[in-house]
């Protein structure tokens, strides 16, 4: 029972991994020049930021579920 419960919680967390797909595969979300950050246009820094966010999401799923 506990095992199954833990599994249920894990499968819910896997949905977190969908977020980067939704954000990054819809370019209209981030295809802008402004606001820029230290001179880097939004289009570029926003996608690089998602490298870090996705790594953190993956780590959360790992630590919480597996």
């Amino acid at each position: 029972m506990i095992n199954r419960r833990a599994r249920k919680r894990r499968s819910w967390l896997l949905l977190l991994l969908l977020i980067p797909f939704i954000v990054l595969l819809w370019p209209p979300f981030y295809n802008y020049w402004e606001p820029s950050f230290i001179g880097i246009p939004f289009f570029y820094w926003f996608q690089m930021l998602w490298i870090i966010i996705t790594a953190i999401l993956t780590a959360i799923v790992y630590l919480a579920g597996a």
Binding site: L17, L24, P28, G39, F43, Q47, M48, I51, A55, Y62
Partner: protein
């Protein structure tokens, strides 16, 4: 003119990794006459070694040369899609690869083709997967040799030397022989060990360039200002951000490439050499550090625009970043940077040739040529095949114009993605009929190749629905065709009596929790 200081530094580091490559045979000693020892290093790599190996294996000459070059020559669409691409890889790895690792571990598979054969009970489908893997890997290895070629040219060393009246690509052939020799003797242990050096060197070069160069040009503001100006001058060919007609191309390039990467034999070999499914999962969280590196390296292409760099002659945009390094740094550092790029190409080239050799040995030689071969014979065939594959890539790079090398690597991407239904969906279901999968694969392979040539050797096909432009990554378009055929034809084949094959795997084989963990050495020893 040969730059002697840079060349000396370059040769020094090349010699260091050559020695390492041979020493690696004695690292965590195993019987190198067994294919899983030679070709998977005994499946004993822990989190740290796997991180270096996969990082060194996945981030190739494509990352160091082709991505910044695309940024330099074409801008946002063709260059920067590599960032969402290398972000989306890791959630996919986290979900798919522990399952793949578990079933391969529990049933002793060495290749994806081994898995497909048992899962769908089909020799023909297994052969198709093995064939595609080898075929798609060849131009990828050629791209690595191209990376080495660019580095050599950047040092001012002539690419060809006249011997007996013939122009021989001597420097490249020397690099090739060194690579071939230590891969032959040490197997996967060699690139794993060299990856430690490669990654360290690449990170040093990255930090130096990405801090020093923007300071030199007055920060990122002026650099992107130059990029914007460049987009106005080259309207229609160079894009500072996406035009609204490029959205589908950008998204399908990112998603299609992310799905394709872990179908490549060299990626799967990296995964299978790790000691547990936990190692794979941890790496899905840690490997994005390399993607950050890729994103920053991509910006070097833009810095080269701001610096008004004239690319090295003969390499098109691919000569931009090497020329930038030559123009901005002292000779000794340029030598170090080019050594980093060349060694950066050696590691994946070695893993790719090992992976292709594993495929040939397990799924073609043992299956069709000599089914009774002993383990020793198997390992020998794999070693020799790794030589043949590399030699094939060498011929390829010498024979075809350098500007085309990258295009053929894109074609390889179109091919490898067509094994997705059998390999990735196979991890979840055996519902598909083997013949439906095979036909889907065959149609997609042919159609993808035709579309690639029809688009003028480009991986983006100008698809349009009426006035709506849906230009997309060809690999992705034909994957949809492939999937539709597999789904529609499965009930058809069942109805006419061509039954599904027998599934030799059982559900518990896929259970990540039950998969055994290989004993690994404690971390300090693992690094030594």
């Amino acid at each position: 003119m040969i730059n002697w200081v840079a060349t000396s530094v370059f040769i020094f580091f090349f010699l260091v990794v050559t020695v390492l490559g041979f020493v690696a045979a004695r690292w965590r000693q195993g019987d190198l006459n067994q294919i899983h020892e030679w070709g998977l290093a005994g499946r004993r790599f822990g989190t740290i070694v796997t991180w270096f190996l996969l990082g060194g294996d996945l981030y190739t000459a494509y990352t160091f040369i082709a991505v910044p070059a695309a940024m330099f020559g074409l801008g946002a669409l063709n260059g920067f899609f590599a960032v969402p691409y290398t972000v989306l890889i890791y959630p996919l790895v986290f979900i798919l690869m522990p399952k793949f690792w578990s079933v391969c571990k529990q049933r002793g598979y060495v290749t994806a083709s081994d898995f497909v054969k048992d899962r769908f009970g089909s020799n023909a489908l297994a052969l198709a997967v093995a064939f595609t893997g080898i075929l798609a890997t060849m131009p990828y290895i050629a791209l690595q040799m191209f990376g080495i070629q660019v580095s050599i040219a950047a040092l001012g060393i002539p690419l060809t030397v006249p011997i007996l009246g013939l122009n021989v690509d001597l420097p490249l052939i020397i690099a090739f022989i060194i690579l071939a020799a230590y891969t032959y003797t040490s197997g996967l242990r060699a690139p794993a060990m060299i990856a430690l050096v490669k990654d360290t060197m690449i990170f040093i070069v990255l930090f130096a360039t990405i801090i020093y160069l923007p300071l030199k040009f007055g920060g990122f503001g002026p650099i992107f200002g130059a990029v914007q100006k460049n987009a106005q001058v080259h309207r229609g060919t160079f894009f500072a951000i996406l035009s609204d007609k490029q959205y589908t191309a950008y998204a399908t390039l990112a998603l299609g490439s992310a799905l394709a990467l872990f179908l490549y034999p060299h990626s799967l070999t990296g995964v299978l050499s790790s000691s547990s499914q936990k190692v794979v999962k941890r790496n899905a969280a840690f490997l994005p550090l390399y993607s950050l590196m890729l994103g920053l390296l991509a910006l070097l292409g833009y810095i080269a625009i701001a610096a008004k760099i004239k690319p090295l002659a003969g390499f098109g945009s691919n000569g931009a970043v090497p020329a930038l390094i030559n123009a901005s740094f002292p000779d000794w550092f340029a030598g170090f940077a080019f050594a980093a790029i060349a060694i950066g190409a050696l590691v994946p080239a070695a893993v790719m040739s090992i992976a292709a050799a594993n495929l040939f040995t397990r799924n073609i030689f043992k299956e069709y040529i000599n089914p009774d071969s002993s383990e020793r014979q198997e390992a020998n065939v794999a070693k020799i095949t790794s030589l043949v594959v590399k030699f094939g890539a060498l011929i390829f790079i010498i024979a075809i114009p350098t500007a085309q090398v990258i295009n053929f690597q894109l074609l390889g991407g179109i091919w490898i993605l067509q094994t997705l239904p059998a390999v990735f969906l196979g991890l979840y279901t055996n519902w598909f009929n083997r013949w439906a999968l095979l036909i889907g694969w065959a149609v997609a392979m042919i159609l993808g190749t035709i579309m690639f040539f029809a688009a003028g050797l480009k991986a983006v096909y100008p698809l349009a629905l009426g006035s709506l432009s849906l230009s997309s990554y060809t690999a992705f378009i034909v994957l949809i065709v492939n999937l539709v055929l597999a789904i529609v034809l499965t009930p058809v084949f069942e109805a006419i009596g061509a039954r599904r094959g027998q599934d030799l795997t059982s559900p518990s084989d896929y259970d990540e929790e039950r998969a055994p963990v290989e004993a690994q050495e404690p971390a300090p020893e693992a690094l030594g």
